[in-house]
C-alpha cells in the first residue's frame, strides 16, 4: 500500500482549491529604516484622462523603494513643485530639498484600447540630467505590475542591481490553534512581494509546510499532511493543477528544486531514517544522496547545481554541511553554537543564510563561504525559514510577534527591516520567488 513509487497522478483538487479570492492580505509596517538611504522625490503622476486611475502609481513605487531600505522618498507635502514633464523640472528646487533623484510621470487611459499608458522619467538632480525614461501600458489589472516595473527600473538605474519588486512570495497561513483543538484552516498563499493581490493555492485542515518555487517561477512544491501523513506535491500556479510526487512510507519532506528545474532534492525515511534523495521529475528515478544514521534534511542547491547544502545532526547537534553531487562527501560548514539549520544559498553562490541558535534564541544568520565569516541578522527569539529575494538584497523570514506568527523582511546588511503581518491568523514559511520575467 505504501509502495506507490512516486505516483504521479493529477488531482482534480476541486475540493481543495478554493476560489482564488484574497481573504487575508498582508499589511506592511516599516520598523527600521536605513540611515544611508538615497533621497528621492517621486512626484504624483499626472492623470491625463477624464476618469480616476484605480491605483495610485507613485504611491506603489514609493512604497517599493522605501521598503528596500535603500531609498528615502520625499513626502509629497514638502515638494515645491509637481512637474510632470522634463521641461517643468527645476533642478534647483530639488537640490534645495536635498534630493538626489527625481521621478516624474503621467498616466493616461484610452477608452479605445481599454488600457492605461504610463510614461515616466528619472533625473539625477546633482548631474542635472535625465537617466532613464519609458512608456509602458497595460489593462486595469496590470496597473500594479506596471508600477512595480517602474520601481525595478529606478532601483536598477540607481543601485546597479536588478530590482525584485515584480516578484512574488509564497507562504502558509493558519487560522485556529492546533492546541485549542479548534477547526483549523491552513492555506498555501501566493502574493506580490509587497503582500498585495494574494490568492489561495491550497486550503486544508491539515498542516502545509516547506513551499519551494520552481526556478521558472511557474510551480510550487510543498509538503501537505492532507492525507494524514506528509506527502510532497507540485502545483502549477496558473492552472492550479496538482501532482503528487512523493508519498513513501515515513517522511516525505523538504522539497528543493534543482536550478535546471528537472529534479527535486527531498527528504525520505523509507530506508530507515531521514536521508536526502534526488528525484528526477520526468523519469521518477530516485538517487540517494546521504547515508548516515543521523538526521539529514533541508537540502538546498547551489546556483550552479553542482552541490547541495543541508542540515545534519551527525555530529550530535544540527549543523550545516555541503557536498558536491559527484562524490557526495559531506563537509561541515558551521561550528558556532549547537544549532545551525536549514541553509539557503544566495543567488550569487557566495554566501549561506540559515537558522542559528545562540543564548536560547533562534535567529537568521549568514555566512560568507569564502571567508567563513558569520553574522547574525535578526534578534527576535523564534526567527525561522529564511528566503532570499532573487537579487540577494532582501531576506524574508518568519517570526513571532505577540502570540502571532508574522513575516518579516530584513535587508541582507541588517540595516532595514519591515513586517508583513496578516490581518488575522498566523503567517509562516515564506518563500521568495525567482525573477518572473
Amino acid at each position: 500500500m505504501q509502495k506507490n513509487i512516486v505516483l504521479t497522478y493529477i488531482l482534480s483538487a476541486v475540493l481543495l482549491l478554493t476560489s482564488r479570492v484574497s481573504i487575508a492580505e498582508l499589511m506592511i509596517e516599516i520598523t527600521q529604516g536605513s540611515d544611508s538611504a538615497v533621497p528621492i522625490a517621486i512626484v504624483p503622476f499626472t492623470n491625463k484622462s477624464a476618469g480616476a486611475i484605480p491605483e495610485n502609481i507613485n504611491k506603489i513605487i514609493s512604497g517599493d523603494l522605501q521598503r528596500s531600505g535603500e531609498f528615502e522618498p520625499l513626502p509629497t507635502n514638502r515638494m515645491l513643485s509637481l512637474p510632470s514633464s522634463a521641461k517643468a523640472v527645476y533642478y534647483r528646487d530639488w537640490r534645495l530639498l536635498k534630493q538626489n533623484y527625481l521621478l516624474i510621470g503621467s498616466v493616461e487611459y484610452s477608452k479605445y484600447t481599454k488600457s492605461y499608458k504610463i510614461q515616466y522619467e528619472l533625473f539625477d538632480v546633482n548631474q542635472q540630467q535625465r537617466i532613464i525614461g519609458e512608456e509602458v501600458s497595460g489593462g486595469e489589472k496590470s496597473l500594479r505590475d506596471l508600477a512595480h516595473h517602474i520601481s525595478d527600473a529606478v532601483y536598477e538605474a540607481v543601485t546597479g542591481v536588478r530590482g525584485a519588486f515584480s516578484t512574488k512570495i509564497a507562504y502558509i497561513t493558519l487560522q485556529g490553534s492546533p492546541a485549542a483543538k479548534a477547526k483549523l484552516e491552513y492555506r498555501l498563499q501566493v502574493a506580490d512581494a509587497d503582500g498585495r493581490r494574494s490568492f489561495t493555492l491550497l486550503k486544508t485542515s491539515e498542516p502545509i509546510i516547506s513551499p519551494s518555487w520552481s526556478p521558472d517561477g511557474k510551480k510550487l512544491a510543498y509538503v501537505s499532511f492532507e492525507s494524514g501523513r506528509p506527502a510532497i506535491y507540485t502545483q502549477v500556479i496558473k492552472s492550479g493543477r496538482r501532482t503528487l510526487v512523493s508519498s513513501f512510507k515515513g517522511l516525505n519532506g523538504a522539497p528543493a528544486w534543482s536550478p535546471d528545474g528537472k529534479k527535486l532534492a527531498l527528504t525520505l525515511s523509507k530506508d530507515g531514517n531521514a536521508e536526502i534523495y534526488r528525484l528526477d521529475l520526468a523519469t521518477k528515478k530516485l538517487e540517494r544522496y546521504t547515508r548516515h544514521y543521523g538526521i539529514d534534511t533541508e537540502a538546498s542547491w547551489s546556483p550552479d547545481g553542482h552541490s547541495v547544502v543541508f542540515t545534519s545532526d551527525r555530529s550530535g547537534s544540527p549543523q550545516v554541511y555541503r557536498m558536491n553531487i559527484y562524490d557526495l562527501e559531506p563537509e561541515r560548514l558551521t561550528f558556532e553554537g549547537r544549532y545551525n539549520a536549514r541553509p539557503r544559498f544566495s543567488e550569487d553562490g557566495d554566501s549561506l543564510f540559515f537558522v542559528h541558535q545562540s543564548n536560547g534564541s533562534f535567529n537568521i544568520a549568514t555566512m560568507n563561504l569564502k571567508t567563513g565569516n558569520q553574522i547574525t541578522l535578526t534578534e527576535t527569539p523564534l526567527d525561522e525559514s529564511p528566503s532570499l529575494a532573487p537579487n540577494d538584497r532582501m531576506l524574508i523570514y518568519s517570526t513571532q510577534r505577540g502570540r502571532k506568527g508574522v513575516l518579516a523582511v530584513v535587508s541582507v546588511d541588517g540595516r532595514s527591516k519591515y513586517f508583513l503581518p496578516s490581518a488575522f491568523g498566523d503567517v509562516r514559511e515564506p518563500a521568495w520567488s525567482p525573477f518572473l520575467r
Binding site: P178, A179, P207, S210, L251, A274, I295, D313, S385
Partner: protein, 195 residues
C-alpha cells in the same frame, strides 16, 4: 573500603525507597485515571483484552482450591486493572533535540508492549512531535526519530513491527500553545494512538 560500601548501601536503600514512593504515588494516580476512564467507557477495550488473558489464567488455576483460585483471580484482576490503568497513559515526553525514551516512560511502555504482544490484531500509530523551536523540517525528522525510538522499545519488548506505524507531525501539532519551557516540554512527545 567498608565505610564506603555501607554508605553506598545506605544510598541504595534510600533511593529505592524514593523510587518505591514514586511508584506507589503513580499507581494511586493511575487508578484514579482508570476510574475516570471506566466511567467514560474508554477502558472497554482493555476489559476485552483482559478477557482474552483470562482463558490462559484459567488453565493454570485448575489444580488450585476454589478459595485460592478466587484469590489468584482477584490478584490477577487487580494486576490487569493496574496494567489497564498504565495503558491509559499514552503520551511520552522527550528532552530538547533528543529522541531517547526517558527512564520514567519505561514502565508504561512495557504495559503497552505486553498488551500489544498479547493482542497481535491491535495496531497503533506512534505520533511523533517536537516543540516549536528550530526548523520545521528538522523537527519533522526529529518527531519521526522519537516515534522510531518508541517503536524500537515496543518491538524489543515483543510487539510485531507490523502492528506499529510511525507518523511525524514535527512542530505542527503542539499539545499546548505557549512559548515557554513548560509548554515546550509538553509538546516534545510521542503519542500512542490505538486504531
Amino acid at each position: 573500603m567498608k565505610a564506603i560500601s555501607t554508605k553506598n548501601a545506605l544510598a541504595l536503600i534510600f533511593s529505592a525507597s524514593i523510587l518505591a514512593g514514586c511508584a506507589s504515588t503513580d499507581t494511586t494516580e493511575d487508578a484514579d485515571t482508570n476510574a475516570n476512564a471506566d466511567a467514560n467507557g474508554v477502558a472497554v477495550t482493555d476489559q476485552a483484552g483482559g478477557a482474552e488473558a483470562y482463558g490462559q489464567g484459567d488453565g493454570a488455576n485448575v489444580a488450585a482450591s476454589e478459595l485460592e483460585a478466587q484469590k489468584a483471580e482477584a490478584k490477577r484482576l487487580a494486576k490487569e486493572k493496574e496494567a489497564g490503568a498504565l495503558r491509559e497513559i499514552r503520551t511520552f515526553y522527550f528532552d530538547f533535540d533528543k529522541s531517547s525514551v526517558k527512564p520514567e516512560s519505561r514502565t508504561v511502555l512495557m504495559a503497552h508492549a505486553a498488551f500489544l504482544a498479547a493482542n497481535p490484531n491491535v495496531n497503533v500509530t506512534l505520533e511523533g512531535h517536537s516543540d516549536e523551536r528550530g526548523t520545521k523540517e528538522y523537527n519533522l525528522a526529529l518527531g519521526e526519530r522519537r516515534g522510531q525510538s518508541v517503536e524500537r522499545f515496543l518491538v524489543v519488548n515483543g510487539v510485531a513491527r507490523t502492528q506499529l506505524e510511525v507518523v511525524s507531525f514535527g512542530e505542527e501539532k503542539p499539545a499546548t500553545a505557549g512559548h515557554d519551557e513548560s509548554s515546550w516540554a509538553k509538546n516534545r512527545r510521542v503519542m500512542i494512538q490505538y486504531k
